[in-house]
């Protein structure tokens, strides 16, 4: 039963208020993409032991999507940020680095 801070409405939301949305920062591939690109967009996901970036929706709250950097082992939340963000903010990256020097997740590090 996680709690996550909703960056839109400012509430520390209980997991019962939240809906998970899978991996964050996926790049959409559409017509014109190669089979490999499209296959990977549809099906290939990270499954890390450690820092992970996820999509969550404050479904039973303000209804807004947001992104969370969360540790799958320790359950530490390094931070949450608006869904309209192309890469994790620097302070969140720094928080991860403090616990996992040299971490890497897809193209982010």
């Amino acid at each position: 039963m996680l709690t996550l801070h909703c960056p839109n409405c400012g509430i520390q939301a209980d997991e019962t208020e939240l809906a998970p949305g899978g991996e964050a920062h996926l790049k959409r591939y559409g017509p014109g993409s190669s089979d490999d690109e499209f296959h990977s967009y549809l099906f290939t996901r990270e499954n890390p032991r450690g820092p992970h970036f996820e999509r969550w929706r404050h479904a039973a709250g303000c209804g807004k999507w947001f992104l969370a950097a969360r540790d799958t082992v320790t359950l530490e939340v390094y931070g949450t940020y608006p869904a309209q963000t192309l890469e994790p903010p620097q302070d969140i990256k720094d928080a991860i680095t403090a616990k996992h020097p040299g971490w890497q997740w897809r193209e982010f590090s």
Partner: protein
């Protein structure tokens, strides 16, 4: 025999006698008794039969860890199986029955299994019932099911007569366990001003300390505890709850506690159980420790009990477990039991101590001074007796048994194999353990605690749960735990305790240490599941080396007690058999709840009509009064049909179809999803969501659209109306409104957030009534107020207007193939419009119709239904809906997916109509069988039925289905298998449009 002592009993009130029944026998106990202590007071040592061998079993423990004394409590709607007699508080009128016996507890036929024990080793069932394979279903399974299981399940027809509730709490500190450690920690935390909740599973505060004795700060420990309680009760920021068990600890400081409000007083008003859903900043687990049994032959005979439990029964409930009690131990603590027994005038013929100590420890010397014989370096060879202990035979602990030195008559054996901290709650959310070799116990590793959302440790153990085993150490650790939890340093020293110094224990996992197979086959590890030392060793020999595998193979540590007594002994035996160290073998996973909690408490108030709120349309009440047969559609209820007096369901459905096709039908279509999509980029957005082009739709017009997900699979369909340049109204399926709305929001918020589009779900803001049939226009014209003529409102057009002064929006769309108007009104006008249509419609033979008639009419027209023709693996092309897939658009959801090889392959099953040769109705979901068999030996299939009905219009069975190369096989007859797999039905492949192929009915 076990009896009540003439004096004493800390917890009982002899002036209040309470009568109860056990297996129908009337017995009497005292207020303050547990069921177990009351049974012992009545010499009812035999309390149940074991699970596998039906061996006679008595009570072993005095608390939550009890594996044997499980009973069925109550009767009728209040019957509950598998309740521990040790944690059941006695009340006047309690009714209990023992379990696992037939025909009676005293004489049990199944006990023959114990004679067959050598043929029923670990994994017996897995090994034996493999062959012949056909025997499983008809011979083995029915027999095993008959004898399997612990207590009986309550009668399926009864409904729990009690009520339950959930309770939410937000605290800074949750302290679990109201023993002396929990009280001390809670007091220290309370003094910081923080909000503290302290829960204790029993009805009493202080835990073991009052029984074990000692002095704190110069006063008897009971007085010190009373002082702590008084201080806590005086703090407004501290809440105390007894009879409340900390059941589980979960992520980010979430915890569940289980409060039993009226189990001890069933006539009390209010809920029986309460489930506390707690969010705590810090959680302290002051959960104490559980004594371990010793593994010697006959350690399960009634009368063999834990040394601490014997002490509890004597001190708390004034029970004499027998005139003579032999103590067997590997540590000093059990000597306390000998001293307690002696002080109550009971005989202790011998203390059998596996250790050989160079000098007497303090407790040993005290026992010797009382004249108790101490046999050092000795072991129990075997216990004599069957339904109760008659005596013990002792031998040298260093040997392999059999060489009996002496037989000692006794009625009770008090055993102690050392103590295991209760680390369950610490471990629930990932707290790790270290093996403490000196004390032979797993204890929490404070450097690897469960972590919260900031990465901080949020659980800390206190006292015995942290491995502190003497009163002084417990109090010191309790104060340290308060510091760990609050982050504050202590303001005063830990209270000073005076206790005897104990000699170290010696780990004993088997007794005697080299016990022969004959002994090991009678040495029980897990009483509840009848697992013996020999079973675990066999599992290791057969390759079940992982402790998790060995658990499941032998059933060690399963069922209601989850191995509270057996786990450490079991894994020590396993590690011995594997030649590995105990920490290398590790423990099985500790999962919540700590002890079983009632299903009622989990459900809370969510039962009957408030289990799930029902959504009702504005016309619901009218339909309900007029014969609606309801069916659930999402959270809605929709009428399957609206029955007239004396009609069967089938007759009603057929009448509704016929009347709608011939006269006039009304459908409450209010559940239809209605999403307003608005903004400069609304058209562009809908072009991405639908497979066809929506941006070219003209205001005033409607278009049917398909929605695919990124995988290309159909997810929803419906009619889109363009309201104005910037505004669309998207109709979704009734069940799809919420998730399609969420789907739109997802893409708007996360992918195309720079587009100017807003979505609002207005499903409940409007009522919608479909006016359908040849008389549809006539009734609207009779009501009057707007022009609904063929010229003014053409097919797939919509118009705003008024009908008898009610503002309406009329869509000329048809899901039935008839002339049809769907009329949307503000929800508050819907009932008025419905009543008007019903009364004015009388002259046109109006009748309401339900969802089944709707389905039949759409199937007659070959219209697909999301969820029937689609199942999450079907693409529009499979349904021959190419016409609704834009070729012009560069991109839309699903377009790229449709290009994938699997979607483009030519042998995908495709939609066709199916007509049975004999006119019967195909079974829903039936498969069309092909030639030969697949790799698994199953018959090859070439298609399946997706919708199937009796068509009242055509007077025969019609169906739609997906069939291999279907559209190329028109006229061909294929065979569908009934559920028996052998009966076949022949059906001809036809065009899925069965009725009015040219659309003449709707185009008038």
């Amino acid at each position: 025999m076990s009896t009540r002592l003439a004096t004493g009993g800390r917890l009982i009130d002899r002036s209040k006698q309470q009568s109860f029944t056990f297996n129908g026998k009337r017995l009497t106990g005292c207020a303050g008794d547990t069921l177990a202590s009351a049974l012992l007071a009545n010499d009812q040592m035999l309390m149940g039969r074991s699970f596998k061998y039906h061996r006679p079993r008595g009570v072993v423990a005095s608390g939550a860890e009890e594996p044997n004394a499980l009973v069925g409590l109550g009767t009728g709607a209040r019957f509950e199986p598998n309740q521990r007699a040790t944690t059941t508080e006695l009340f006047d009128g309690l009714s209990a029955t023992s379990q696992n016996h037939w025909p009676s507890l005293e004489f049990d036929v199944g006990a023959v299994n114990t004679k067959l024990a050598r043929f029923l080793p670990a994994g017996f069932y897995y090994k034996t019932f493999m062959w012949p394979r056909s025997f499983w279903k008809h011979v083995y399974e029915p027999v095993i099911r008959q004898s399997a299981g612990l207590g009986k399940a309550p009668d399926a027809e009864t409904r729990d007569a009690d009520t339950y509730e959930h309770f939410y709490a937000y605290v800074d500190h949750l302290v679990i366990g109201g023993g002396i450690a929990g009280l001390e920690t809670a007091k220290r935390l309370g003094e910081t001003g923080a909000r503290v909740l302290l829960v204790e599973q029993t009805a009493h505060w202080g835990g073991r300390a009052p029984v074990d004795g000692g002095e704190v700060e110069g006063q008897p420990v009971t007085e010190y505890i009373a002082g702590l309680l008084a201080a806590l009760n005086a703090m407004e920021n501290v809440t105390l709850r007894s009879r409340t068990m900390g059941a589980g600890i979960y992520d980010h400081g979430y915890a569940l506690a289980y409060e039993r409000l009226s189990d001890h007083a069933p006539t009390t008003q209010g809920p029986r159980h309460r489930l506390w859903r707690i969010r705590a900043g810090q959680i302290v687990t002051a959960t104490g420790a559980i004594e371990r049994p010793l593994s010697f032959a006959g350690n399960d005979i009634p009368g063999v009990m834990l040394a601490s439990a014997v002490r509890d029964y004597v001190e708390n409930w004034a029970i004499s477990p027998g005139d003579r009690t032999v103590i067997v131990t590997n540590n000093d603590d059990a000597y306390r039991t000998a001293l307690v027994l002696k002080s109550h005038g009971l005989d202790v013929p011998a203390i059998i101590d596996a250790r050989v100590l160079p000098t007497d420890s303090a407790l040993m010397a005290e026992a010797r001074a009382k004249g108790i014989a101490i046999h050092q370096g000795h072991a129990i060879d075997h216990v004599m007796g069957t339904k109760r202990v008659r005596g013990v035979a002792i031998c040298s602990h260093a040997g392999e048994g059999g060489a009996v030195i002496e037989e000692i008559p006794c009625e009770c054996v008090a055993m102690s194999g050392g103590w295991s901290p209760v680390v369950h709650l610490w471990s629930h959310c990932g707290g790790k353990l270290n093996w403490d070799q000196a004390n032979a116990m797993f204890r929490p590793d404070l450097t690897r605690a469960p972590t919260g959302d900031k990465g901080q440790a949020f659980v800390t153990p206190a006292g015995a749960a942290n491995g502190a085993m003497t009163l002084g150490d417990v109090l010191e650790d309790a104060v340290a735990a308060a510091e760990r939890a609050s982050g504050d340093t202590r303001t005063s020293d830990a209270p000073k305790a005076v206790v005897a110094v104990e000699a170290p224990l010696a780990p004993v996992w088997m007794m005697p240490q080299g016990a022969s197979i004959k002994h090991r086959m009678k040495a029980w590890l897990d009483y509840q599941n009848d697992v013996k030392v020999s079973d675990v060793q066999l599992a290791a020999r057969e390759g079940f080396e992982s402790v998790e595998h060995a658990k499941r193979y032998t059933t060690l540590g399963m069922a209601t007690d989850q191995g509270k007594l057996s786990n450490i002994n079991g894994l020590a035996i396993l590690s011995g058999a594997l030649g590995a160290e105990i920490p290398q073998v590790g423990t099985t996973t500790f999962r919540p709840p700590y002890t079983p909690i009632s299903m009622g408490a989990i459900a809370g108030e969510a039962r009957a009509e408030i289990f799930q709120p029902i959504r009702k349309t504005p016309i619901h009440d009218w339909l309900d009064k007029n014969g609606a047969e309801w069916e659930p559609v999402g959270h809605w209820r929709r009428p399957y049909c609206i029955k007239q007096a004396g009609e069967t369901t089938e007759q009603a459905v057929h009448r509704e179809v016929k009347n709608t096709r011939e006269n006039l039908g009304l459908l409450d279509a209010s559940t239809l999803g209605k999403l307003i999509v608005k903004g400069k980029d609304a058209g562009k957005f809908l072009d991405m969501l639908y497979t066809n082009m929506m941006s070219t739709l003209k205001p005033g017009r409607c278009r049917y659209g398909l929605m695919c997900n990124e995988n290309g699979f159909l997810m929803d369909d419906g009619v889109v109306a363009r309201i104005d340049e910037d505004t669309f109204l998207c109709h979704t399926t009734s069940g799809g409104a919420d998730h399609i709305h969420a789907h739109m929001e997802d893409w708007l918020q996360c992918e195309w957030w720079d587009w100017d589009v807003y979505v609002a779900n207005v499903t409940e803001q409007y009522g919608q009534i479909a006016v359908v049939g040849p008389n549809a226009r006539k009734v609207l014209e009779a009501i009057g107020g707007m022009d609904v003529s063929k010229e003014a409102l053409t097919f797939m057009g919509w118009a705003d207007g008024e009908l008898a002064g009610i503002p309406v929006r009329v869509y000329r769309i048809s899901f039935s193939g008839e002339l049809s108007y769907e009329i949307a009104v503000k929800a508050s006008y819907a009932r008025e419009l419905w009543d008007l249509l019903m009364s004015v419609g009388k002259q046109f033979n109006v009748m309401p119709y339900g969802t089944e008639a709707l389905h039949i009419m759409r199937a007659e027209k070959g219209f697909i239904m999301i969820g029937d023709e689609t199942d999450g693996t079907v693409i529009p092309q499979d349904l021959n809906l190419h016409w609704a897939i834009s070729k012009k658009k560069e991109d839309f959801m699903g377009k790229r997916a449709h290009e994938r090889a699997d979607m483009a392959r030519e042998d995908r099953w495709k939609l066709v109509g199916l007509e049975t040769v004999d006119g019967s109705v195909l079974p829903d979901g039936a498969y069309a069988v092909g030639e030969g068999t697949n790799a698994n030996g199953q018959r090859n299939v070439i298609g399946r039925v997706t919708s199937t009905y009796h068509s009242p219009t055509l007077g025969r069975g019609i169906a739609m289905g997906l069939v291999l190369h279907g559209p190329d096989r028109m006229g061909e007859v294929i065979r569908f298998a009934k559920t028996d797999g052998t009966t076949m039905i022949d059906a001809k492949i036809v065009d899925p449009v069965f009725y009015d192929k040219d659309g003449e009915m709707q185009n008038v």
